[in-house]
């Protein structure tokens, strides 16, 4: 893997296409917000779209797709692990709410 040759990077036309996709996703997010979805559904939809946006940005704008795979596998799973560990706060938040009633 250490001798793996990074892939060739695309041109500005490709990046402009990604930029348009990101703008479109923001438009969808705003439309969903005013579609009066239940809060949990809206949160799930907005988070999913934000993760897609972040994925496009990291892989293409930040060129992670064109680096050696070792960089991806060293960085991204580490961050995901930390964020999953942070997720353990949630049950305590619900407990706090119940204590107020």
């Amino acid at each position: 893997m250490a001798n793996e040759t990074p892939a060739a990077e695309p041109g500005m036309r490709f990046y402009a296409a990604i930029w348009l996709v990101l703008i479109a996703i923001v438009g969808v997010e705003v439309a969903l917000t005013f579609a009066h979805l239940p809060t949990t559904s809206l949160l799930a939809a907005l988070l999913s779209l934000a993760v897609i946006e972040a994925g496009l940005g990291v892989m293409y704008f930040m060129h992670l797709k064109y680096e050696r795979r070792a960089l991806f596998w060293s960085l991204i799973p580490t961050l995901v692990f930390v964020l999953v560990m942070l997720n353990h706060l949630w049950p305590d938040a619900h407990r706090l709410l119940r204590m107020q009633h």
Partner: protein, 209 residues
């Protein structure tokens, strides 16, 4: 025998071994900073979610105009600045030093526009008596506390990025830096853009009344 010669002849691994990632050390360090900073923003966003779920009297103060419309314009400005940063990196790699410096300055200019729009929004909210410790709608004051904390941390990153971009543009134009510096600064700027992709839906859109 110099230090580097000594390392080569005596076989110090760091001097001889190729990077497993095949990138400059400055770029690797920026990636490590970005991952750490992403965890910081992750923590503050999780904290915001915790406060929100744990507050029975949470209020949703935002409407399409002016807040969401302003936020959409800010998002467009920030996304466009990422595109101009990509143009700067492409020009730097092509050896077009002056063009690259111009694109970096365009990026910094868009960063300034974002900051001005953001501060205008802040001052509007402050004029309505919002603050980190006050909710003029009578609900939880944690609404203002979390809003100003999260957007303030992001705004600090934008302002820091504008300063860094301006310095890099000037130094790169004068030949004091190399394309790797432009690319590394670009990584940071794209990261600031990506953080906003979470702040806008979670802090703005989820608080539409």
């Amino acid at each position: 025998m110099s230090g580097s010669d000594h390392a080569l002849t005596m076989g110090h691994g760091a001097a001889l071994e190729a990077s497993p990632y095949g990138i400059q050390s400055k770029k690797l360090v920026m990636w490590l900073f970005i991952i750490a900073d992403a965890a910081t923003f992750g923590a503050i966003l999780f904290g915001y979610g915790y406060l929100r779920v744990g507050s029975a009297d949470w209020t949703r103060p935002f409407h399409f105009t002016p807040t969401i419309l302003n936020g959409m314009v800010m998002t467009l400005v920030l996304l466009t600045s990422s595109l101009s940063m990509l143009a700067a990196v492409a020009a730097a790699k092509a050896g077009q030093r002056a063009a690259s410096a111009r694109w970096i300055l365009v990026t910094a200019g868009l960063g300034v526009v974002f900051a001005v729009l953001h501060l205008r929004e802040w001052f509007g909210l402050i004029a309505e008596h919002w603050s980190p410790s006050n909710n003029p709608l009578g609900g939880s004051p944690l609404v203002g506390a979390s809003f100003f904390s999260i957007t303030g941390l992001h705004l600090l990153h934008v302002i820091g990025g504008v300063v860094a971009l301006s310095v890099v543009a000037l130094k790169y134009a004068r030949g004091h830096l190399e394309p790797g510096h432009v690319e590394t600064t670009g990584l940071y700027w794209h990261f600031v853009d990506l953080v906003w992709m979470f702040v806008f839906p979670l802090v703005y859109l989820m608080n539409v009344g």
